[in-house]
């Protein structure tokens, strides 16, 4: 991936965020992403994101689980190690359904979790740039990517005008890289956070 320039705006509440997203998209700026402490209903629609295809992935994992487990058990109990269990036929389909079902669910769940983490670029021993640490706590952070045509100061004042309480410009790596947060980065170093009661 590459290092790009971003303008980052923080919002205190989710209410103005919808309006701000609409205005940003209308004025033609390139919306990179919006980071929020909790899922916000309808924000994906407002941002114009397409429907996630993670359920399609889940369906494929499930199909994989069903077929692989059924064929594995068929091979084991009819070819590799046929046993007479209570006079049942070797191909004892009803007895395999629970196992097939469980394996289907397992494949779908684990597969979807891993896919989700991959899409979000989350993994152990991997780092990713955080635009604002309080996006995990109480700030709603909108990130706009700068193109060669973007005027940063104009964009910054535009962000303030649509309700951002804090605006800054960052050069950031968009991808992920090997590294550890706890060893390599001192969080809040050199920043004094004021906490008001």
């Amino acid at each position: 991936m590459a290092v790009k320039k971003f303008v980052v705006g923080c919002f205190d509440e989710e209410g103005p965020l919808f309006d701000a997203v609409k205005k940003v998209r209308k004025s033609g700026y390139k919306l990179h992403d919006v980071y929020t402490p909790f899922p916000i209903h309808g924000l994906d629609k407002a941002m114009g994101l397409r429907d996630t295809s993670i359920h399609t992935a889940g369906f494929l994992y499930a199909i994989f689980g069903t077929t692989s487990m059924l064929s594995f058990m068929t091979w084991v109990f009819t070819k590799d190690f046929p046993l007479n269990v209570g006079g049942k036929p070797h191909f004892a389909l009803p007895a395999w359904i629970p196992i097939t079902f469980e394996f289907t669910v397992l494949c779908a769940c684990v597969g979807m979790v891993i896919t989700f983490c991959y899409l979000c670029q989350l993994a152990p021993f991997v780092k990713k740039h955080h635009f604002h640490l309080r996006a995990t706590d109480d700030r709603f952070v909108m990130v706009i990517e700068c193109t060669p045509k973007t005027n940063e100061s104009e964009l910054s004042s535009f962000m303030t005008s649509i309700g951002a309480t804090e605006v800054n410009v960052q050069n950031a790596e968009t991808g992920w890289w090997l590294g550890r947060y706890d060893k390599e980065q001192k969080l809040f170093e050199g920043q004094s956070e004021t906490v008001s009661a």
Partner: protein, 411 residues
């Protein structure tokens, strides 16, 4: 756009409901002369009564599932269904005429005795003697009257509570809270009675006792799941119909999506129970239990007459919903959802058909126009009763405390 508060029955709707009821009455009369009069081909007229038993019990439990849906969502403090709650209430009104018909049929089964319940004559049969404390005409009649009667009375109470707010909205939040609490109390009473009847005793008495020697602990749940998913399908059909007639302005694809989820989830729940019942019997392989599947499933040693119908019913009730309703888009599409609702209602009607007929006439399938005619009659009656009930109250319970939550509902 002005809000259409009251449903006015369109002429076509009325014609259809009356025509279907006419077909039903005609079928019952013709069926009685062909199948109902005892002769040497048809002992005791069981064929006629079996069809009445299947149809009346099935459609009664389907419309009653609507009241169960109201009470279950009330107990769960659900808000999303309020915009179309009046539709579910109207469907539950159909419990009154269907309940009366079913009551007559069920009492006739033990008084006229067309040889559907052989537990009526337990003499000399050790197993039936052992079960006679439960399977006897007195208990059967009392319990049937109580079951249907209390469904009607408690359902009426729930509908009254809903109407109460139409002209006098709750004055403040406290009054709203009190109203919700009162609702939960009555809903809880209904649910308890529902658990004691539909989820346990009633399917044992009305359906499982056809095979009086056989029993399955899954049977009542299975019956409940069957009728509940068909009930959700019926609600969906009425909601979509009213939408198409430009009623229910506040109901949109978000609500349809949730109804679709119910149909999808409970189709799988039904399959789960179906499979649990089947697998335990298959696994244990005890002759007293496997006898149930002799007529239903073809095996190496035995040719079940109902096998084709049984697996067709399974495909309609499991494969079709799971494959078609799985996608988000299909649950939000009015056409797909309506199509699936019809498939599900028909599929579970076939399920009830095999529950009754494969036990009574195990040698060959007798499904013909007579059965469909009787079913048409009940469909017409549901249409008629629900349509009438829809005109009686405003379509939107506009003063319900949860109405806003329902309007802005979002999945």
């Amino acid at each position: 756009m002005a809000i259409k508060e009251f449903f006015a029955i369109p002429a076509r709707y009325r014609t259809w409901s009356l025509a279907l009821m006419g077909v039903g009455i005609l079928s019952v009369i013709i069926g009685f002369f062909i199948y109902g009069i005892p002769n040497e081909h048809n002992h005791h007229g069981a064929r006629f009564w079996a069809s009445l038993l299947q149809n009346s019990v099935y459609f009664l439990l389907v419309v009653n599932a609507s009241m169960f849906f109201i009470c279950a969502t009330t107990l769960a403090f659900g808000g999303w269904q309020i915009v179309f709650r009046r539709v579910t209430e109207a469907i539950s009104v159909a419990v009154i005429p269907l309940g009366i018909i079913t009551l007559i049929v069920l009492i006739a089964l033990v008084t006229v005795d067309p040889h559907i319940f052989h537990w009526l004559h337990p003499e000399g049969d050790k197993i039936l003697m052992g079960k006679s404390a439960f399977l006897n005409p007195t208990f059967y009649i009392i319990w049937t009257i109580l079951a249907i009667g209390l469904w009607i009375v408690l359902g009426y109470k729930m509908r009254q509570l809903s109407r109460e707010l139409d002209n006098n909205p709750p004055v403040d939040a406290e009054a709203g809270r009190k109203y919700i609490f009162k609702n939960t109390v009555w809903a809880a009473i209904f649910i308890v009675w529902f658990a004691l009847t539909v989820m346990s005793t009633v399917p044992w008495l009305w359906l499982m006792s056809i095979d009086a020697h056989w029993y399955s602990t899954m049977y009542s749940w299975y019956t409940f799941a069957s009728t509940f998913v068909a009930g959700m399908a019926l609600i969906t059909i009425f909601v979509v119909y009213l939408k198409n007639q430009s009623y229910l302005e506040y109901t949109n694809e978000e609500h349809i999506h949730d109804l679709g989820k119910f149909m999808f989830a409970f189709s799988i729940f039904w399959t789960y129970l179906w499979f649990s019942q089947y697998m335990l019997i298959w696994y244990a392989n005890i002759p007293e239990e496997t006898v149930y599947f002799n007529s239903r499933i073809t095996s190496k040693s035995h040719n079940g007459a109902y096998s084709g119908l049984y697996w067709f019913m399974f495909a309609l009730n499991f494969l079709a919903p799971i494959l078609i309703l799985m996608r988000r888009g299909s649950k939000r599409n009015y056409t797909t959802v309506t199509f699936m609702a019809i498939v599900i209602i028909f599929g579970h009607w076939l399920d009830f058909y095999q529950m009754v007929f494969a036990s009574l006439f195990p040698d060959h399938v007798t499904l013909n126009l007579f059965d469909f005619g009787v079913a048409a009659g009940f469909v017409g009656l549901i249409m008629f009763a629900t349509g009438r009930a829809l005109t009686k109250a405003p379509l939107l319970a506009k003063n319900h405390p949860f109405i806003k939550e329902s309007i802005i509902h979002h999945t």
